[in-house]
Amino acid sequence: MRVLVVEDDPGVAEHVERGLGEAGFATCRVGDGAAALERLDAGAYSAVVLDRMLPGLDGLKVLQTLRARGDRTPVLILSALGELDDRVEGLKLGGDDYLAKPFAISELTARVQALTRRATETERTRLVFGDLEMDLVTREVRRGGRRADLTVREFRLLEFLMRNAGATVTRAMILETVWGYSFDPQTNIIDQHVRRLRQKIDRDGERSLIQTVRGAGYALGADGG
């Protein structure tokens, strides 16, 4: 899968490219908006990492042009902490996700993975991971046939993890998707929710299905399942 990195700062761009490379993405890098539009016109990319502030053509203009010509490639907007409504503006113009600088590279790769997955995913009524099954219609969760009673919030948390099975989701992504609030929690509160979920779906004496990814977040059995 190829990701186009549109970033004028060579240091940040190199950092982003290395992180995405380690996560298994092929990357292409351009330094300004016009070149980005050219590349996107020429070839198909799985996702775009787009800096908000670019020389010449502004990042949001690039996004607008892209959407105006019917290109639905998932776009992650990067922005230096500037305005409170940056995020809202970026998402309104057709961005799929937003990340403020400075960011942890694990946060970026997790979000790009989620974006590419979201783009390829088709509507499903059932999620399965090993012997963990989730019925999205009856809202039933079973682990090896045994039914797990989850609260609404726990159900959504597990659904999010299952939809991104094998990939890391960060605490900020969980807060955004499961609670619908956007900010960096900077606390271990989400860990408590994950701990409860583990108690309900894990089997005694076995390694947890939900693994903690140090310094990043959680992943559903990256090495298991």
């Binding site: 400075p102 900077q186 509160i189 408590q192 701990r195």
Partner: protein, 449 residues
């Protein structure tokens, strides 16, 4: 102010304008006095003299000399000062006094005659009629008073032409100097402040005049700027101090790592970097909220839903600690504001409450509307904050005594306070007896549509 700059002084220009107006009005006043007090009476006297001349001539023609003498000798009406003379051969005065000088002026003449009291010549406006070869009758009125009045007005005009400009110039000069001195005080203070002396203030004289009011307003503004700069300075001092510790540790870990690779050290170095990033993120976030250039977003919110989300978010953590959370959230409340920021603010309050409440304690979350404002209260049964520390816990990095060992950056309440301010509200810390009660009062809550 130098004299060369006088013409640029607004006050001086105003004084000059005032002077011109003043002089013009004095001239106008004197002109009116001249017309009313001199010119018109004189014209009346001239008409009267001519009429009296006709009457005298007619009397002579009809009644001869005796009738004329009776006419001339008749008592004058009260208040008038008639001049009557009858000249015989050789212009000798038969009745009255002979004029010493005659100036014809149209139908009448202006004459000068010796004062009967002997105090110099007097002026009269008369009609002179020759009745025969050696007989001339002169009738008219003494105009000496009118003349005196005219002289007085002329003198007044002359004096005011000299005195008014001189006085005006002097007063203008004095006024410009006085005003420019007051302005100079403001200018020099502003320059000193620009040069970096933020403690300078404009002198207030205590007269309460408009310059004093201006000075007081400027001083208030300077005090506010001074306070802001001080707080920025103290924040940057704090930031420098708070960042030094993790940076030093990070550096030490990296230096050792350079010699002997160790995954545990990498982990610790990453933790320090994350801590640094957390501090930066929190500081930038607070700074952005405080700058609040665009004001708060205006999402229509259901405060009860937002608060129950926050309670739901913190419940596992609280329960793990043996702390219960109860919520009293009436339906039907409404609020406009930034959903994410308000959620984070409430989370920070809950975070503090959970952190400081001992096992077995209770946290109570309430929301209610009071006088058009939304009150959100988070009360705990922890140790609370002593009144003398309450004002300071909203300062960045401030940790109340005894709290230094608790996890946290000391940036939670400053953010809550900034979010409250962005929404036109306040954060107030009270005693929950025991424990702490944090009350957010937020702007106007509008009825739901």
């Amino acid at each position: 102010m130098r004299l060369g700059q006088l013409h640029r002084s607004l006050t001086f220009r105003l004084a000059l304008l005032y002077l011109v107006l003043f002089t013009a009005s004095v001239a106008l006043l004197l002109g009116v006095a001249w017309v009313g007090g001199v010119a018109r009476p004189l014209a009346a006297v001239e008409r009267q003299a001519a009429a009296e001349g006709d009457a005298a001539a007619k009397t002579y023609r009809q009644g001869g000399l005796p009738a004329l003498v009776a006419f001339l000798k008749a008592p004058a009406p009260p208040g008038s000062e008639p001049f009557r003379a009858l000249l015989g051969p050789g212009r000798r005065a038969l009745i009255g006094a002979a004029p010493t000088r005659v100036e014809p002026a149209g139908a009448v003449a202006r004459i000068e005659f010796p004062d009967p009291d002997g105090s110099g010549p007097r002026d009269a406006v008369v009609s002179i009629r020759r009745l025969g070869p050696d007989l001339t009758v002169i009738v008219g009125h003494d105009v000496e008073r009118l003349e005196e009045r005219a002289d007085l007005i002329e003198a007044a005009l002359g004096w005011s032409a000299v005195i008014a400009p001189t006085l005006g110039l002097l007063v203008g000069l004095a006024m410009s100097l006085a005003v420019s001195r007051r302005i100079e005080a403001v200018t020099s203070t502003a320059r000193a402040v620009m040069a970096g002396d933020l403690s300078r203030r404009v002198e207030v004289r205590g007269t309460g005049d408009d310059f004093d009011q201006l000075a007081e307003t400027l001083n208030l503004m300077l005090a506010r700027i001074d306070g802001l700069v001080q707080s920025v300075r103290s924040v940057s001092d704090h930031v420098a101090h708070e960042l030094r510790t993790p940076l030093t540790r990070l550096r030490a870990e990296l230096e050792i790592l350079g010699r002997e690779p160790s995954p545990a050290r990498v982990e610790r170095a990453l933790e320090e970097a994350e801590r640094l990033q957390s501090i930066f993120d929190a500081l930038l976030r607070i700074a952005r909220i405080e700058a609040g250039r665009h004001g708060a977003a205006q999402d229509a919110l259901d405060p009860a839903a937002l608060l129950s989300d926050a309670v739901d978010f913190y419940l596992p953590e609280a329960e793990a600690k043996g702390v219960s959370i109860e919520a009293d959230l009436p339906a039907g409340l409404a609020l406009r504001g930034d959903r994410d920021l308000l959620f984070q603010a409430v989370c920070n309050l809950l975070d503090n409450a959970v952190k400081h409440t001992p096992p077995g304690g209770r946290i109570r979350v309430e929301a209610r509307e009071d006088a058009g404002r939304l009150h959100i209260a988070v009360a705990d049964t922890g140790p609370g904050v002593a009144p003398e520390h309450r004002a300071r816990v909203v300062e960045r990095f401030y940790r109340a005594p005894g709290d230094e060992e608790k996890p946290g950056l000391g940036l939670g309440l400053p953010l809550v306070s900034a979010v409250a301010a962005l929404h036109g509200g306040t954060l107030e810390l009270q005693s929950a007896e025991p424990g702490l009660r944090a009350v957010l009062r937020l702007g106007r809550s509008k009825p739901r549509v």
